[in-house]
Symmetry: D2
Subunit: 266 residues, 4 copies
């Protein structure tokens, strides 16, 4: 017996001869000239436009995620662009492939940790929750997401600024409070500085804005996509990918030939 | 003789223990809470923050590019997410791979056409330039980029709105004028409606904002990245990829078995 | 104090004016005309050419992985090719992005499970190991990798054939034996048919050939890359991506308009 | 009026409860243990198994394409793997994104050039065709695809070996002859050594095997996919991506800080 087909549905957007509708709103009449790209991203993710407060906080989060200098992802985008300049989209795509657990895991993991804790018991006493979380991670010898930074010590300068913006917009709530208590408890338990890093702050603010943790990595992806196109614009003006490639290839090739030569001689 | 190493340089961003600097600006002091994501994209692409007028026009361009319903790219992102839900970044990357000549070629091609025409002679008489361009494309039997639309007839509603926003911000200049003259001349030469479409309008506005045409596709990529994350957010809430896949696989599989069966029988 | 640079090294390949060396072998003298693509893959992964027995088993594994009909990955490659026909490599790349946990997890997971079990105690009694593994997975309510198949019941026809080839080449050893005992024990514990599926068989054979489980997914990626190029060759001759796209877009668009209309009317 | 749905069809593969059929052949009975991966690729691309002669030549072409040392694509795959080790498929995909015009353009372009020339007039006198082609490229100041190599001078060692294998298998025909005449004519016209390079040889052999030039890049993609998985296997055993990244980031960051400092001081 053949499978029964089921209906499919998507409400993201549609158009007619003279209209373009996005999330139920008329693109030209209700969006163009009225909302910025960050607000549009909020609309795409949630189905509704942000309040001015949500807009301020969400744009700050996204702006934080855009640029981090010559990351591996930026190198990747530049190397692909050098090899396939006719397909700029593939260079950005290749760079985004690297927004994985090592680089984007912090905000996703922090959002997951906070949501699971407060979904189970929305009225829980936060200090007790923080103690339980830290004990659980310590017991599993797992790294607590969103804490500590290799360079920014003792504090990550992005975190207080992001929380300040959240407070100014009445969006510094229980998730931020829990994240801060987790950091305090972790510093006590591990007896070393473990400040909330930028991705931890963003993970907490994802929760305050009501985003499912499953989409937190997507917010990092949006920010990085902007940054990678920026790096390609610089690469077009001032190329460095070829030099980076030649240096590495020369070193490996010279070394491999030496090894090969001594193997042959031996 | 070994190759001499050359210095490499990138001014996109760097950080110290207590500072993050992007494009020479302090992230926490000069950017967070002050600029939106569209402005940040402008900063990344050009090295300077936009004026309020540039911000208005650039954000409108980006917002236009975000959402187009269930495009092939959106389907791709959803299908990859279904297959590799643990790697959301790869789903967006796969979708972006499809922002190629068929979908993003319009704005890139229009920007190239306009820039090449007005770079050669910045003071050229625009109507003559338009006639020469249309004659050239016709002679080569090439499609003029940025004109015509399969659905939006006789006009693409995005174009007048984008040009209206540009005019309100003193950014409706010679590139837009040339694009409009090209459309008029093309309609005359081909004797059918060939209005400036959304990507044509965006290509012309890229020129007004001073972007190199080589990065125009990158602006489409930024917009689409936002849209694709939006589609994944919807896919998580309301999945359709599996049904789309099963329908296509069932149909092809049934048909292939029938063919095979009749080949065996014959 | 600046970081001290460390040497980098890669022995994959290098060339001089008149030679190309791959893995220490002369490409034109020692490889071309002498080895097939599967053997070359073995050389790339392990640094040495396969024995005839290893070649037979490894090629059979790879051949198994190539083609699975209109998978989500094949649909993805076709949709991207339709959107960016000038960048065929991006279409394959997009398709490969979907070789994730859902589709390639089986062989990776099975190889990991088997290697961890027999690394801990290479001389362990296999039946006891199998019982411990099944009990562990049951206790964690986790799915045992490499067992069961939605369509191929009660047995996956690929498994006996792959194990037969392995036996004929003296490569059906303790890993295959353990996998089979796990299947028997799982069928007993869960009281339903749980035969070793194709990816489970391949995972076990990865172990017999000495591959680290961390690279098992790479073997699936190689097979799928071949298959995706095959689908693009068919798509060029006999396109279906546009129709697949239009059907889905039409259905979603029509439905969204209806919903929007009734919202407006209410 | 709604669009009329059209049937879709794919004959790549399908399966039933107890059978897997690929290209009309039974996977377990007719393929496993009987064909190698290169033959399987031929089957996927053409719908039929290769003759022994075709198998020899096609495997040699594929083997040639696998490994080229630390290419930009290999660096990309390694950098992505370092950032997202959990998604090995995305690392290969990112590397493949760079198999574009700069690296894979040679074989595609050569195949296109040869096919267009001999399709127009299959019985044309080859020397005259070669002269016309060289004159055409020179007139357009375009680079003739498949000729010349930065390192391999005066000859690319892969070319004579590949043509030798083709001759030994009765597959050195008119396309190879035309490619050789083009090289002779180009060396005469440009008055410098312009030997057929490896990609040029492969482009000509694609024609001898009857492949459409539109899929020639796909053959490079298959070879590179194998090589990239090889590089990831080495990266797992002996990582270099982090060092490559840190060197580049350190240099750019130090330089950018100096510039910034002098700007602040001025």
């Amino acid at each position: 017996m053949p499978r029964q087909s089921k209906p499919i549905q998507s409400n993201m957007g549609w158009s007619t001869v003279d209209r373009v509708v996005v999330q139920g709103l008329d693109l030209t009449q209700q969006l163009l000239g009225k909302v910025n790209l960050g607000d549009m991203a909020f609309l795409e993710l949630t189905g509704r436009l942000p309040t001015p407060q949500q807009s301020a906080v969400f744009n700050a989060m996204l702006v934080t995620l855009v640029e981090h200098g010559l990351t591996p992802q930026a190198m990747v985008a530049r190397l692909v662009h050098m090899s396939a300049p006719e397909a700029l989209q593939a260079a950005v795509a290749a760079g985004l492939c690297g927004v994985g657990s090592v680089f984007a895991g912090g905000s996703e993991g922090a959002a997951k940790m906070l949501q699971e804790a407060l979904t189970a018991d929305p009225k829980a006493e936060l200090a007790a929750v923080a103690r339980a979380i830290v004990a659980d991670f310590r017991g599993r010898r797992a790294v607590i997401p969103g804490l500590g930074h290799a360079r920014h010590k003792p504090i990550d300068p992005r975190t207080p600024r992001l929380f300040e913006i959240a407070a100014a917009n009445q969006l510094r709530g229980r998730y931020v409070a829990l994240m801060e208590l987790i950091a305090v408890e972790a510093e006590r338990a591990y007896n070393r500085p473990l400040p909330i890093n930028g991705t931890g702050a963003i993970g907490a603010l994802c929760c305050e804005l009501g985003f499912d943790w499953r989409i937190a990595r997507g917010i990092a992806v949006i920010g990085r996509a902007v940054g990678l196109v920026g790096h390609l614009a610089e690469e077009i003006r001032q190329p460095i990918a070829r030099e980076i490639h030649l240096r590495a290839e020369d070193e490996c090739s010279t070394q491999a030939q030496k090894m090969h030569g001594s193997l042959m001689a031996s």
